[in-house]
């Protein structure tokens, strides 16, 4: 009802279900960090511009700062911690380590979540701004130019971009996308 200011909200985070009661102003980002203690998602600009807060919600990459948690009631959310763990890193996490694709590391959780979903988009044939001819419906081959364009929503203030691109291309190659 519109006169209520707290709403039962369920989020399943990295496979674990959480039942919350939330003010509708709470973002998915703040629900994760402040209510659930999930710190494997970072707050950068809080305006949808930097990509640090990227998570995968129901299979789609989103900036969790612009997502109201009440609107995502029932969603399955994956953060960087859901892509692997120490001793059992996910493929992208392993590649970021191998390629030294970070300096301070603050943008890295968002980078790997964004990259994971981006590779799925490429596999599904989603074109990009640098696709030569969108009408051709060609399968996607990820070049460095393609990775840079598709990852442009994730800023890295340290400027680790060359190694980030290399790390993502390593995994794209393993998955037959490069």
């Amino acid at each position: 009802m519109p006169d209520q200011h707290s709403h039962p909200t369920t989020l399943t985070v990295n496979g674990e279900r959480h039942d919350l009661v939330l003010d509708p102003r709470v973002s998915v980002l703040d629900a994760l960090r402040d209510r659930l203690g999930v710190t494997s998602v970072k707050k950068g600009c809080d305006h949808g511009q930097c990509g640090a807060c990227t998570v995968i919600a129901d299979g789609r990459r989103i900036v969790s700062c612009l997502a109201l948690a009440v609107s995502y009631d029932g969603a399955e959310v994956t953060t960087a911690a859901g892509l692997g763990s120490v001793g059992a890193l996910g493929a992208l996490q392993e590649a970021f380590v191998d390629r030294d694709a970070l300096q301070c590391g603050y943008c890295t959780p968002g980078q790997v979540c964004s990259a994971e979903a981006m590779l799925a988009e490429a596999e599904a044939g989603m074109p990009s701004h640098v696709t030569a001819d969108v009408a051709a419906l060609d399968p996607v081959r990820l070049s460095p130019e393609e990775v840079r364009e598709r990852m442009s929503g994730n800023l890295c203030r340290c400027g680790a971009y060359p190694n980030i691109v290399d790390a993502i291309l390593d995994v794209a190659g393993e998955r037959g996308l490069a």
Partner: protein
């Protein structure tokens, strides 16, 4: 952020009932949230009630009987850009979507919400400065302030802001139809009549009436729009709003332009359909000289300010380049 009540209606009828006859200062509709949630946080949008439409099923991308497409308002920008029918029939619509925002934002943002994006004029977003769009009667800071992104065509003494959407530029070229449902029932708004010029009421971006909900955008069949292109000029190679953009579709027979659709982004308070250029070009040879004469006919209406005069030459060069590329290869799309 100001407190608000939240409701997630299960139908359009229920949403309209919740909205009542309230104006948009009392209620706001939520879809993808990429613009609205930011404005809630900045205090630019201050509704009492937020009505969440994001789970209403307005349909996907469907082919219409006449060979056009009907796009449900909740189709996400990323899904629309990837749609095979859209890419084959209206490639410049897909190109425009892909030129906008970032992968994350495109996977959140809705079709209906894209039409309702508010200007990125820096003063509109900065509550410490006067802005007639944000606070009617307070004045326009952009008139004498930072003016790189200011409008060239159709501005008023009250507002020089431009519409930020990429998607809307080819939709203007295509004479798309915006389907809406409101307390008074359903109606279909021609695209050119959906957005408005600022005049003395810049706080109103569109001609939507109180509580009306966008349910779909319809693109009518235009077989020769398979030869179309969208080009965006911006300060960065990716993830930036347009300085200017050009959406063009052209039909050529025996070296003569038989028909053309042209719309410009980054130049006006609404996506700008370049009808003077279209009229000047129809029946002319498909040559760079004719393209330049056509865009010059359109740009006679330009009123550049101190910071944005460069956009005139930028529009001329970009339009000539796009039309030249589209027409230099006979048959297949270049």
């Amino acid at each position: 952020m100001k407190a608000f009540a939240y409701a997630r209606p299960g139908s359009i009828a229920e949403a309209l009932e919740l909205a009542g006859d309230g104006d948009d200062t009392q209620t706001a509709y939520l879809a993808g949230g990429t613009n609205l949630v930011d404005h809630l946080r900045l205090g630019i949008a201050r509704p009492d009630t937020l009505i969440d439409l994001s789970r209403l099923d307005f349909g996907g991308v469907e082919e219409t009987a006449d060979g056009g497409l009907r796009i449900g308002a909740n189709v996400r920008n990323a899904d629309l850009a990837a749609d095979p029918a859209l890419r084959r029939r209206f490639p410049f619509v897909s190109e425009a979507l892909l030129a906008g925002a970032s992968g994350q934002l495109r996977s959140m943002a809705s079709t209906g919400g894209n039409l309702l994006q508010r200007t990125r004029c820096v003063y509109f977003q900065d509550r410490s400065t006067p802005c007639n769009k944000r606070e009617p009667g307070s004045g326009c800071s952009a008139l004498d302030g930072y003016g790189t992104y200011n409008a060239l065509i159709g501005a008023s003494e009250h507002c020089v802001a431009v519409h930020p959407s990429d998607l809307c530029v080819p939709l203007a070229a295509l004479d798309a139809i915006v389907h809406v449902t409101g307390p008074g029932g359903e109606r279909a708004i021609p695209f050119d009549q959906f957005h408005r010029l600022p005049g003395d009421a810049p706080e109103r971006d569109t001609t939507l009436e109180a509580s009306e909900i966008i349910t779909a955008v319809e693109i009518l069949a235009l077989p020769w729009a398979s030869r179309s292109r969208y080009r965006k000029v911006r300060d960065r190679a990716s993830y930036a709003f347009a300085l200017v953009s050009v959406a063009a579709a052209v039909d050529v027979a025996d070296g003569v332009v038989t028909d053309v659709r042209l719309a410009l982004g980054g130049v006006s308070h609404k996506p700008h359909r370049a009808r003077a250029a279209e009229d000047a070009l129809r029946g002319q040879p498909a040559t760079p000289a004719a393209f330049e004469a056509a865009i010059d006919a359109e740009l006679e209406a330009a009123r550049p300010g101190k910071d944005n005069a460069f956009k005139v030459g930028q529009l001329r060069r970009t339009t000539v380049a796009v039309l030249t590329e589209l027409t230099q290869t006979e048959g297949d799309r270049p």
